[in-house]
Symmetry: C2
């Protein structure tokens, strides 16, 4: 079972992070817990580049995304959201579930709505309450590149700006305060390289005020309840997943030791190497070039290449895990996670394993071209 996990999450987790889970079980109503949790909040703020309130939910990323919706969207609210894959679709379902009036900017999978399309939606919907966006569409390997310009639109229309960055935050720039993001969610098991189960969310003062004045009909995801417990005692309202909090803190520490900019560069160079190396070998990326994600490299299957056989061979013979496609893309694409611990070792082992698997399955691929191209890209690290 000692695989190299090149999944779009959960990713490989450094041993130092795994071992942090062995810290003794403590009372979550004690000074020991206050020390742990305030440190978690502080380090999360550094990674989110924000002074906003932080809640680290004991839940998967979907839990944080649900919290980011039910605390802010009410019946009849108008919400703009780009939709082009499984996760943006889920997000829009959650928003619709609140009884909101949803303005969907739909584009084909692998292709993002342009900034101009988003601007046009704002122009046509001056009464918009919030803009929701999936930063990185995990199902298709696309990434939105204009998040720095959205607050010009939301602040003009006095709308909330919410970013679901579950599969990217920590791997690419998302300076929450500088970009004016009101609510931002992620999952610990993606670019932060912690085990799954902790999902942090940041909330701006104006969004916090709104949430406190308009509590949602949930206990577990009621963020106002978390703010109250934190403001009063630095506790969480419910028993948190303690070992995972220790691991998450350690993963944040590693990320901050390396330095955010270095981490971003490493992710960028590694995904460049994967895209260009695998392309040189004869595979083609699924997403439109300008919309390609740096944390999830989605590739079209070669003609006749069978998903299950390919991924099982890669896993069983070469111990490299990659993911298949979702929904309509099942059997049409496979996805290589490029996040967390990712380094030249991960990239080259993956390219080499994919090349051998394809060759074993009878496909003629140019392994030499793939490896050379990737090596060239990785030189800058």
């Amino acid at each position: 079972m000692e695989y190299l996990s090149m999944l779009p999450g959960p990713t490989n987790v450094p041993n130092r992070v795994m071992r942090a889970m062995l810290a003794p079980i403590i009372n979550h109503r004690s000074d020991d817990f206050v020390e742990l949790y305030t440190d978690v909040v502080d380090k999360t703020q550094q990674v989110f580049e924000t002074k906003n309130d932080i809640v680290a939910l004991s839940a998967s990323g979907t839990g944080a995304v649900e919290a980011g919706v039910v605390n802010l969207v009410k019946k009849g609210d108008k919400v703009i959201i780009p939709v082009n894959g499984e996760f943006s679709n889920r997000l829009s379902q959650l928003i619709e579930g609140q009884g909101a009036n949803v303005v969907k900017l739909e584009t084909p999978p692998g292709q993002n709505a342009t900034f101009d399309q988003v601007k046009e939606a704002f122009d046509n919907n001056k009464d918009v309450k919030a803009f929701y966006v999936v930063h990185n569409e995990t199902s298709t390997g696309t990434m939105v590149n204009y998040l720095d310009r959205i607050s010009d639109l939301t602040s003009r229309n006095d709308a909330f700006y919410v970013v679901d960055s579950v599969s990217l935050l920590g791997g690419a720039p998302l300076p929450v305060d500088k970009w004016g993001v009101d609510v931002c969610m992620t999952g610990a098991q993606k670019a932060i390289a912690a085990p799954p189960g902790i999902s942090p969310i940041s909330v701006s003062p104006r969004a916090k005020k709104y949430m406190q004045e308009n509590p949602p009909n949930t206990m577990y995801f009621n963020l106002a309840r978390y703010f109250k417990y934190y403001d009063e005692e630095k506790h969480t309202p419910f028993t948190p997943a303690l070992p995972l909090l220790y691991a998450y803190r350690e993963a944040l520490a590693i990320l901050l030791e390396e330095g955010l900019q270095n981490v971003f560069t490493r992710h960028k160079v590694c995904s460049d190497a994967l895209y260009s190396g695998l392309s040189a070998m004869g595979l083609s990326p699924f997403a439109k070039e300008e919309d390609r994600s740096i944390s999830i490299v989605a590739l079209n299957y070669l003609d006749g290449l069978e998903d299950k056989i390919f991924r099982n061979t890669l896993a069983n013979k070469f111990k490299v895990l990659v993911a298949g496609g979702f929904g309509n893309l099942k059997g049409k694409v496979f996805r290589v996670g490029c996040m967390g611990e990712v380094s030249p070792y991960h990239v080259m082992r993956t390219i080499s394993a994919i090349s051998s698997t394809l060759a074993m399955m009878g496909y003629e691929v140019d392994a030499q071209a793939g490896l050379k191209t990737a090596e060239e890209k990785l030189k800058s690290l």
Copy 2:
């Protein structure tokens, strides 16, 4: 930080369980995961003594309790629930939050509604949709002793029977199928002695059918979604907290190796020893004798005994963690968890540490009587 945790959860976790968390991160859409999760479901069924569907949520106990409410209770439904403490109060808030018509059987903290009062409520409310009950009220150390007789009432009125056994299941008998419980929730960090973060829930076929036909307005706690993923692929819909699932499985294995009946006896004998030992030393239990919990021993503070000083001395000088009171009981009681790994060692160390702490704080206590009485009780183990 190497405390003896005698908290009402999280409890001490055996090293074997902690180390299980170090299993390599796997793909949650793989055969490795299917093996892990089907084993988790199977072992949970054994501990719940049921053939019902099992969902192991990645959330705290409150998450499972919320799931047990929002999947079953709809606007206008009539629900009967006994209320006498923080957790039964929370449960009734969750039910009211659904817009239900709640028939509360309120009794003073430390005292349960009698079976006759419950029966009377059923007689007076033939149109009841569900009966909800907190098996073990963590905030006051009381336990309901007539859960085996409830299905006579619920089946007569064709109502659902739901038990929140977060702080007891695994420590005392709750044979779900034999007692006709439709929905039963617990938390891994209580009597099962796993780390916090996994909360299992069992659902009977008729409750499952209802949930599938009446999905709730939540994604994370939508149990029908979990059934679908499990029935089709033995997966979970969202990335589960993998290391905690490994730990939970190991904790269940330990419990089953000891044997359910032995575990129940051990819990009973240990709590008897705590109650009688601490009573002989001069402390008095908070709960009415016939309603006392076997997993949480709540004790009245002696006159003038200051909560924070007492618990801090006990923690800092003697490394034993106990909990304070909740809400109105803050400063009036302290609570000793008696669950999970609990054994003669835990009981005697706790009694001895409490006795020394009280003596250091200037209270005259009969340490000898306390220790002797407890030792006598523990002989049967």
